[in-house]
Chain length 333, copies 2
């Protein structure tokens, strides 16, 4: 008797299944006594309606797929938390999947949740095009991209952050501390439009504030070694103030610098994207450009809910980044 059915309730209450259904859903008119006895039976049996069966008639499963690259990454954990929380409050259960930055895992997750007849999905997509992504889209299910978009998929609204405001403030702060040159480490930008967007925003703003010839930009790949060599080249060019577009690079760089005996906030000034817990806990605390990830998550979920209700379509949104100055940007020498 793993699950109690509506029939059990009907039997217990001595009435028909349809009446129980009506009593439970408040449709049509039912006598107070009938209602009472239904409630009692539900109580006694701990009846919980099978939403799968309900779904087969209503075609709403109250179920959403959420795909993030890796919840072990603090940024995506915050994002997933905010999304799941918002969705749950609206009565939705969230299937979670991690793509580990791999297109094939992403596709197999999407296929799986599609077979569960999700009402839609919220996705931090991988790479550009993907069969399953395309399938999801042609099914005209509500889909929202969050944090970044996928190329080759049309008409999916995106909730991400606008890098400009935060970068502008960070650059001004660096300039105010007396630096003449500024460097930017943009991360593994190859198939990440958001990282590319940050780099463009940086180039544009930095050239205006520092002058083109004082601006240095390099990208890294996923491995530790590339970060080390970028760092070395930057220092050799006389760059003492760095902005990291990709927080894992910043974390690597900080430990590399510490090992090398260089003091952050004195010998090197650093600003990183993403207001991770770790940046507040280490000493000196790291100045950051915050994407306000909770806000992005919440808005992504709300946009999704509106789409499910048919309220809006394809209205992408941007959440402004903000700069949070801390001790990792020191006086230039």
């Amino acid at each position: 008797m793993a699950y109690v059915t509506i029939r059990d309730v009907a039997q217990r209450a001595g009435i028909s299944v349809s009446t129980v259904s009506r009593a439970l859903n408040g449709r049509g008119r039912i006598s107070p006594e009938t209602k009472k006895s239904v409630e009692r039976a539900v109580e006694e049996l701990n009846y919980i309606p099978d939403s799968r069966a309900q779904a087969m008639r209503s075609s709403k499963t109250k179920t959403v797929g959420l795909l993030v690259p890796d919840i072990r990454n603090g940024y995506f954990a915050d994002l997933a938390y905010a999304i799941q929380d918002t969705l749950f409050k609206a009565g939705y259960c969230t299937f979670i999947g991690t793509s580990s930055e791999s297109v094939s895992l992403q596709d197999s997750f999407i296929t799986s949740i599609l077979s569960q007849h999700i009402d839609g999905a919220i996705i931090v997509p991988q790479g550009e095009y993907s069969d399953a992504l395309h399938l999801l889209n042609t099914r005209k299910l509500p889909v929202v991209f969050v944090d970044r978009t996928a190329q080759g998929v049309e008409g999916v609204p995106l909730v991400d952050s606008d890098p400009m405001p935060g970068i502008r403030e960070a650059l001004n702060d660096i300039k105010d501390h007396g630096f003449a040159k500024v460097g930017y480490v943009s991360g593994p930008i190859l198939d990440s439009p958001s990282l590319q967007g940050r780099e463009y925003a940086f180039r544009d703003l930095a050239a205006r504030i520092f002058g083109e010839e004082h601006v240095f930009v390099e990208s890294t790949s996923f491995n530790q070694a590339s970060c080390a060599s970028v760092l070395k080249r930057m220092r050799q060019s006389g760059v003492d103030a760095l902005i990291f577009g990709y927080s894992p690079d910043a974390i690597r760089a900080i430990s590399l610098l510490t090992y090398a005996g260089e003091q952050v906030g004195k010998d090197v000034s650093i600003v990183s994207f993403d207001d991770l817990e770790i940046f507040r806990l280490i000493s000196p605390q790291i100045s950051v450009i915050s994407q306000q990830v909770q806000e992005i998550g919440r808005r992504g979920a709300e946009l999704f809910l509106d789409m499910v209700d048919g309220k809006r379509q394809s209205q992408s949104q941007r959440v402004e980044t903000i700069y949070i100055p801390r001790a990792s940007v020191g006086q230039a020498r």
Copy 2:
């Protein structure tokens, strides 16, 4: 046409629904040509079977509920990742929920996933007793507790870690560095059997290694102030070596100490439970007692899968903690 049904496939292939079903599931005998045409139709329509409908007959939804207190906590994020990953590889979709350390949220999540007819659940439980937990259990659905157990719920197997080995090694390391006294900050132990278990293990081992009169133990509540005052009292008792049973306390303590100008690894020696990323990234790196959380998650998921297959029942497992010495334990003065 949000979803393609088996009927669409049958129509396209010009045969009956039942034959399509049989072809797809490889039951009974079907002619090669029929099979071909079914496959072609499936391909053309991108048909994905509705597993909810399948589930209504087979009573297996290939769906699991996973409840953790908070995925924003690195420890639970690692745990959730390992569990979700293992489950997904076995063909299960995972509903995730966060209880935010609240019994009522936990209960409402459990009720929600029960209405989705999950095949079972993997849970990091809150508090002692809970209606929904009890309900889950009486439904005889496969349930596994991970990381900690809930009192008042019988017969649910638990996969957690055995604190003894790690604590023993940590204590020996502290002793080897010349300390005569040792302190233990046990966290908010009130309704956490695992934190209690750690404290017992510590008391037992520390008394044997250091002698009862040189062992200091205090617990904290969830707020920052209690951690500060515990820290102060410990230092006043002349305790320079501390083990933290609850990693958030350790993180708080480290930042408190740093603000106060005390050097970790010199003025104070510290060991914390949980091998969090942050403990490897800050300087000095923090010595930890690792619970091997990935291993716990993987084993929890595997135990669950065995239970679903009816292979075993209620076989709790313990994963040994290991001690990882780093620079935060220095020479006593």
